[in-house]
């Protein structure tokens, strides 16, 4: 997916100005960058919630799933119904039921299936939102800090789940996070954003294949990338 010289500003705040990046199809691109730089804005531009003022984003006309930075659950629907909401009129009832039960099981919300969002803990809401984002078969998957609010174990589980899904449907994934380790664990391409308007501070490719990245001999290589990225992020913050 090619982002071609896009320009966008929030009111008088220029976020992107003639900004271009390439997001390889069917690969996972991670985006790092300090708070308020424009990561969420980029995702919303790709999802067409915002319209670019100039330039083009090629390939965003496909089926999109978006995990928002906030859970955005319908307060008057149960967890099950919230997930079902995005499948209605797309699948038969039986099929829906099966898929939803399955995904809720995988994010660990089976017991909360019939709870309303206000009855959930923060991490549970996040998992419900993850279930909703993962339940379809999207061509483009936009994830805005998907693992926030989850404990270490849940983080690993969701991480696994993401890689399984990616393996199965091969969507183009854009994955925004603040955690360098997380980025290295899933990203095939890692971008660090900085500045206003946004510039790419650093672009890294991680050549170790997904989904397994824990072979002993890779550790040093990955550690190197990690340190490089951390340094870049600190630099970015200072500008």
């Amino acid at each position: 997916m090619q982002i071609n010289g896009i320009t966008f500003s929030h009111g008088k705040k220029p976020i992107f100005n003639d900004f271009s990046i390439y997001l390889p199809e069917k690969e996972i691109t991670c985006i790092l960058g300090n708070s308020g730089v424009g990561k969420t804005t980029l995702l919303k531009l790709i999802a067409r919630i915002y319209q670019v003022e100039n330039g083009t984003i090629e390939g965003n006309q496909k089926r999109v799933s978006y995990l928002f930075q906030e859970p955005r659950l319908l307060p008057w629907k149960t967890v099950f119904e919230n997930v079902e909401y995005v499948l209605l009129n797309k699948l038969s009832k039986a099929e829906r039921e099966e898929r939803i039960t399955d995904i809720l099981e995988q994010v660990g919300l089976t017991a909360e299936k019939h709870s309303f969002p206000h009855e959930l803990s923060g991490g549970m809401k996040q998992r419900a939102a993850i279930a909703r984002a993962f339940v379809g078969k999207p061509d483009i998957l936009l994830l805005d800090e998907p693992l926030q609010g989850l404990d270490v174990v849940k983080k690993m589980e969701i991480h696994e789940l993401l890689l399984t899904l990616w393996d199965r449907y091969q969507p183009t994934v854009v994955y925004v996070t603040h955690d360098v380790a997380e980025a290295i664990a899933v990203g095939q391409q890692i971008l660090v954003f900085h500045g206003r308007p946004v510039a790419v501070q650093c672009q890294c490719f991680v050549h170790t294949p997904l989904p397994k990245r824990n072979a002993e001999d890779e550790q040093a290589y990955l550690k190197g990338i990690s340190e490089h990225l951390l340094l870049q992020m600190k630099l970015a913050n200072e500008i």
Binding site: A47, I49, R63, V64, S65, Y66, F68, E70, R72, L74, P75, W76, K77, Y85, V86, L88, N89, F116, H118, R132, G136
Partner: protein
Amino acid sequence: MKGSTSKNDKWVTLSAIVTLLFIWWIASLFYPPIILPSPAETAGKALSLFREGKLLGELVVTLRRVLLAFTISLMVGTVAGAMIGKTKNLYLFVKPIITIVQTIPPISWIILAIIWMGLGGGAPIFVVMIATFPIFFFNAAHGINQVSKELLEMSEIFQVKRHRQLLDVYLPSLWPFISSAISICIGISWKTIVMAELLSSNSGVGASLGLARLQLETSEVLAWTLTMVIVGVTCEQLFQMLSDKTTVGKMSKCK
């Protein structure tokens, strides 16, 4: 307004009504029956009207008019308000028109209404529509701007069909506004139809009430009023029950 047994609810409603009856009864002790008959006299009169068959006959006429007018207002007003409320300029254009229409007293409409719709019952229907439509309209127009943009964005991205969005996002968000408008309009429609029938028609409860009034039959006036009140409150209770039972009503309470 948290959940509770609906049995309790009924008792509360009942006790409210008993309280009112009691106040009425006390008040009636201070005035001669021609000014304020007692609840008993009024009920007696209502009963005798019922036996004559007049009560039900006129009530049905009025009921049909109100139902028609109310339904049209509800549908058109809510939909128009919701659609127009979203577009600033259109809303600014329509708003003064509706305020004007609503400000014009029925008495000024009546002659046009009679000419357009005859003495049958068109005019009362028209007047009730004019009285209730703006309420649905304004409540929906204000409500539509309270619908969460975030949930709508979410729905768009997941390509949720329009009608599902209406049902699952718009309706629950608008519900407090719509149900408020319904509560208000149930009372208003019954009141307005009486005035309108009194001014322009020769059938229906309003016309009978007008007649009774000119004949100084205060107890009959109150009997008709009582009938309207009972029907009105019943409607309101029915609506409440329905609303509590249907998903939308339950939905909008989860917030």
